[in-house]
């Protein structure tokens, strides 16, 4: 790890602006770090030539005084984002070799603002997973290890490649997506910061769809302010996404470091779940104390339908996925396995192209949408979803944001939960409510457990109120003074 790869995005942009180093230099340093990181399996596609070309173009822009807000900053891109002419597989065999003819809105905005693409980051297949083990290209390995042990840990999922690459300094920051916790849980597992903004903040156009009413893109980085800088470029109204919100994109970074005095922070009692490690409970208490010290008013709130969020999610998300993934039929793009007739070709292509977890979710989704079960399952889940959203609306009567743990455990070993879908699903118990309600949620690294693994705290905000999360997040960051980095073993 060179000095250049260890910089925050903010410091790197300042260094580039002051011409202390060039984009070509900082990009080359990252490419070297990526070359030496194959044990982590974070990148599935490297684009070194494109990166250097973009870096040189950035240096030329800067020399002529036309630098954009992210100019010259090398970033990693989750493989769920379609990138023009660069293989985009969403972690699935069924999209092997797929080279989009277009660029996703979010990534095109990053390039508009001058960023450099280092490559595509590994992920759970179609973003369905919490450990990165469902990727067709093998799991990402967490750069963090338990003290004195060599067992490979999960970086979390589905944005495990993004999380590992940010933690291991293989990019300054990365794009990610979050349908049920896929930004926040990996951030917590890798000691990084991640924010899922309000649903509709970032365009979904050109992002491979999983569950369209829940999917939302967001940034991951090594500081709260870095995620604020990146989110500003990612967000914005897009007529090509009919659920994109036409709201002003504030200068999110300006909220970092602002006083949080007088803000009312709610503590939802239902997030104290049975079997939660004492360390996570203690960290939560510590987070409450930090925010109190910073001048926040702490209030108890109740979100009575919290325990029903996960089962509702496991109807809604698979239902939407079974519909979205119907497009993979082997006709226009993706894997085709020739059969005896058209139906046989569909069935064989999908059987070979999809992995076990994706098939499982498609089958659940198809079942809950099928005749006779639609009302009992799908409609019921949509009504419970409304109840969950109403609970948050109630909470906002007495508080401005919520503080909770991000995940019910620290990073676990690869293979630990891969045979038990339900145990895996429970990883998202604290994060999934936010997706159902469409609210912004952020994970901030707040401490280490007894084994030396990072733990995160989650902040949840009102609709379109990411600003308050950036203020509270930077207050937590300052109080926690989390500086631990994984010791390099890869």
């Amino acid at each position: 790890m060179s000095e250049l790869t260890g910089l925050t995005l903010k410091a790197a942009l300042e260094g580039l602006a002051a011409k202390r180093f060039s984009s070509e230099e900082i990009t080359t340093a990252h490419l070297a770090a990526i070359d030496a990181s194959s044990a982590l399996n974070a990148y599935v596609v490297g684009t070194p030539e494109k990166a250097l070309e973009m870096a040189r173009a950035s240096d030329a822009r800067r020399a002529s005084g036309q630098a954009g807000p992210l100019d010259g900053a090398p970033l990693g891109i989750k493989d769920l984002f379609c990138t023009e002419g660069v293989e985009s597989t969403a972690g699935s065999m069924i999209l092997r070799g797929f080279k989009p003819a277009y660029e996703s809105t979010v990534t095109s905005q990053l390039w508009r603002d001058g960023a450099v693409m280092l490559g595509k980051l590994n992920m759970d297949e179609f973003a369905m997973g919490s450990s990165n083990e469902t990727s067709a290209w093998g799991p990402v390995v967490n750069p963090w290890r338990q003290q004195g042990r060599n067992a490979d840990l999960t970086p979390g999922g589905s944005s495990g490649g993004s999380a590992a690459a940010v933690a291991a300094e293989l990019c300054l920051a990365a794009t990610a997506t979050d349908t049920g916790g896929s930004i926040r849980q990996p951030a917590a597992f890798t000691g990084t910061v991640g924010i899922k903004p309000t649903y509709g903040r970032c365009s979904r156009w050109g992002i491979v769809a999983f569950a369209s009413s829940l999917d939302q893109a967001g940034p991951m980085a090594r500081s709260v302010e870095d995620t604020a800088i990146l989110l500003r470029s990612m967000a914005g109204h897009d007529p090509k996404d009919s659920t994109s919100i036409d709201a002003e994109v504030p200068d999110f970074a300006s909220f970092c470091g602002r006083s949080v005095k007088g803000l009312r922070v709610g503590i939802p009692r239902e997030y104290r779940v049975d079997g939660m490690p004492a360390e996570i409970d203690a960290l939560w208490e510590q987070g409450i104390a930090w925010l109190k010290d910073a001048g926040c008013e702490i209030v108890d709130v109740t979100l009575p339908h919290t325990k029903y969020a996960l089962p509702a999610y496991y109807i809604i998300a698979p239902a939407e996925a079974s519909s979205n993934l119907a497009r993979y039929d082997g006709m226009r793009y993706g894997l085709r396995v020739e059969g005896d007739n058209l139906t046989d070709t569909y069935e064989k292509s999908r059987a070979q192209g999809f992995g076990a977890e994706v098939k499982r979710r498609i089958l659940i989704g198809t079942y809950v949408l099928s005749a006779g079960y639609y009302d009992a399952y799908y409609l019921k889940a949509l009504k419970v979803r409304r109840r969950i959203a109403d609970n948050f609306d109630q909470a906002w009567q007495t508080c401005d944001a919520l503080l909770t743990p991000t995940a019910p455990s620290a990073a676990f070993a690869l293979g630990d939960k891969s045979d038990d879908p339900l145990a895996m699903y429970l990883n998202d118990i604290f994060t999934v409510t936010v997706n159902l309600a469409g609210l912004p949620g952020m994970s901030v690294p707040a401490g280490l457990d007894a084994q030396g693994l990072p733990l995160g705290l989650q902040l949840i905000g009102r609709n379109l109120d990411e600003g308050t999360l950036f203020s509270l997040g930077s207050a937590l960051e300052k109080a926690a003074d989390f500086r631990a980095r994984p010791a390099k073993w890869w």
Partner: protein, 95 residues
């Protein structure tokens, strides 16, 4: 058991996924485990509750009905498993 082997076969057929016979029973068990966990939703009183399909409180935006893209068959066919001239080649649909 809510989901038996016949249901798995039917759902797999609807989803157009060829599942080998050896996978049918294990899948029935897995899906039953998940569905019976989901059944706890029945504890929630949802009488008179409006289903929530989206968190974005806005109508579907409209735009002028004009062509905004197109005219590039090479790009459209760029990822086709099989293509000829300006067409996707697909298995025979009509006898």
């Amino acid at each position: 058991m809510a989901i038996d082997a016949a249901t798995v076969r039917k759902v797999a057929k609807l989803a157009r996924i060829a599942e080998p016979e050896s996978r049918i029973e294990p899948l029935a068990n897995e899906l039953n485990g998940i569905i019976s966990w989901i059944e706890q939703l029945n504890e929630v009183d949802t009488d008179g509750v409006e289903p929530m399909t989206t968190s974005v409180a806005m109508g579907l935006p409209m735009r002028d009905d004009v062509v905004t893209d197109g005219g590039d068959p090479a790009k459209v066919l760029g990822n086709a498993p099989r293509a000829e001239k300006s067409f996707f080649v697909v298995p025979k649909v009509v006898e």
